[in-house]
């Protein structure tokens, strides 16, 4: 087999990214429910220039995988718009994941698959990132009400990120 045909075989085995909006519509329709009205933002998103090289900046994380620290109250599965502050020096073994919409097996085996805490501490140690904020924030992303996300959860998190004087924020959905 030549090099060229090997490449063609690989290309054929790749699929386009999954269209989750289509598959959700199919699933809801199969169950007899009307389609969910997803957010479609036609307007250009707001934009803030990155203030310097990443190696000099303070980074925060907001993750939606239903992650809490042992000792904290877990999230509910019904439009929970609360959040949890997780200190960035936490031991990864103290972190838990509960969620209704994804397979938790790997997250419970190694939380870094949905909450890159050890990963980012390593990136700080090697100088790729300047420092981490005092807390990472977690919430339950599976909130049907976009209004409640925009009016309750998002403003509360913005306030915390400003108070932590974060330079940049990485958001990790599930």
């Amino acid at each position: 087999m030549t090099e060229q045909s090997a490449v063609e075989v690989i290309v054929e085995r790749r699929q386009a990214p999954i269209d989750y909006i289509d598959r959700t519509r199919e699933q809801y329709s199969g169950l007899g429910y009307p389609p969910y009205a997803w957010t479609h933002s036609e307007d250009a998103p707001p934009w803030t220039e990155v203030p310097g090289p990443l190696s000099e900046l303070r980074l925060g994380v907001i993750a939606t995988g239903g992650i809490y620290r042992a000792g904290q109250t877990a999230f509910t599965y019904k439009d929970d718009t609360t959040y949890r502050a997780i200190p960035t020096d936490v031991a990864a073994e103290e972190l838990r994941a509960t969620h209704f919409a994804y397979d938790l097996t790997d997250a419970r085996d190694d939380i870094n698959v949905v909450f890159p805490i050890d990963t980012l501490r390593a990136l700080v140690a090697e100088g790729r990132v300047g420092e981490l904020g005092p807390n990472f924030y977690t919430c339950m992303g599976g909130i049907y009400s976009q209004r409640r996300v925009s009016e309750e959860l998002a403003p509360a998190l913005v306030e915390r990120c400003l108070a932590d004087e974060l330079d940049v924020v990485l958001l990790v959905p599930v």
């Binding site: 085995r13 999954i18 939606t64 109250t73 877990a74 502050a85 870094n112 990963t119 940049v168 959905p173």
Partner: protein, 150 residues
């Protein structure tokens, strides 16, 4: 839906003066919400920042995703990361689809609803966590109330 939520939060953070990057494994949902910067990782949901017990790979993935802060200059653009979940993409075939040839069966009955019930009480990973939260709540240094904004 998580992807929609983070997109909405990212837009508010950016408007408040904090640059953001949204990781995403659901490209279409992220495109619809249109956050300022995104980095797409074509992995199954539940692995947005890597694979279990592969710290070196995960460091590469997240480091590459952070490049979105450095290279994206047009609001609403998305970086595509170079990683694949498996040698082929057959894992995508069964996602959110019935395990067998169901859907509606011959009698026209609705498909079985195998989604997790939306419980409105805290869903602990284990019973010990519920007890720990209760114990913590009674102490002076309450971990339960810290971080919950009711």
């Amino acid at each position: 839906m998580c992807h929609q939520t983070v997109g909405l939060i990212a837009r508010q953070l950016e408007a408040a003066g904090i640059p953001t990057v949204c990781l995403t494994s659901a490209r279409d949902i992220t495109r619809a919400v249109n956050p300022p910067r995104a980095a797409f990782l074509d992995f199954p949901l539940g692995h947005t920042s890597g694979r279990p017990h592969q710290p070196e790979l995960n460091r590469e993935i997240v480091s590459d995703a952070l490049r979105a802060f450095e290279v994206l200059t047009v609001p609403g653009s998305m970086l595509h990361l170079r990683y694949h979940w498996a040698d082929d993409d057959s894992w995508k075939d069964g996602v959110m689809r019935p395990a067998s040839d169901t859907g509606e069966d011959a009698s026209g009955a609705k498909a079985a609803d195998d989604r997790v019930e939306r419980f409105d009480t805290p869903q602990y990973q284990c019973d010990a966590d519920a007890e720990a939260a209760e114990a913590s709540h009674g102490s002076a240094d309450c971990m339960v109330c810290a971080g919950i904004d009711y």
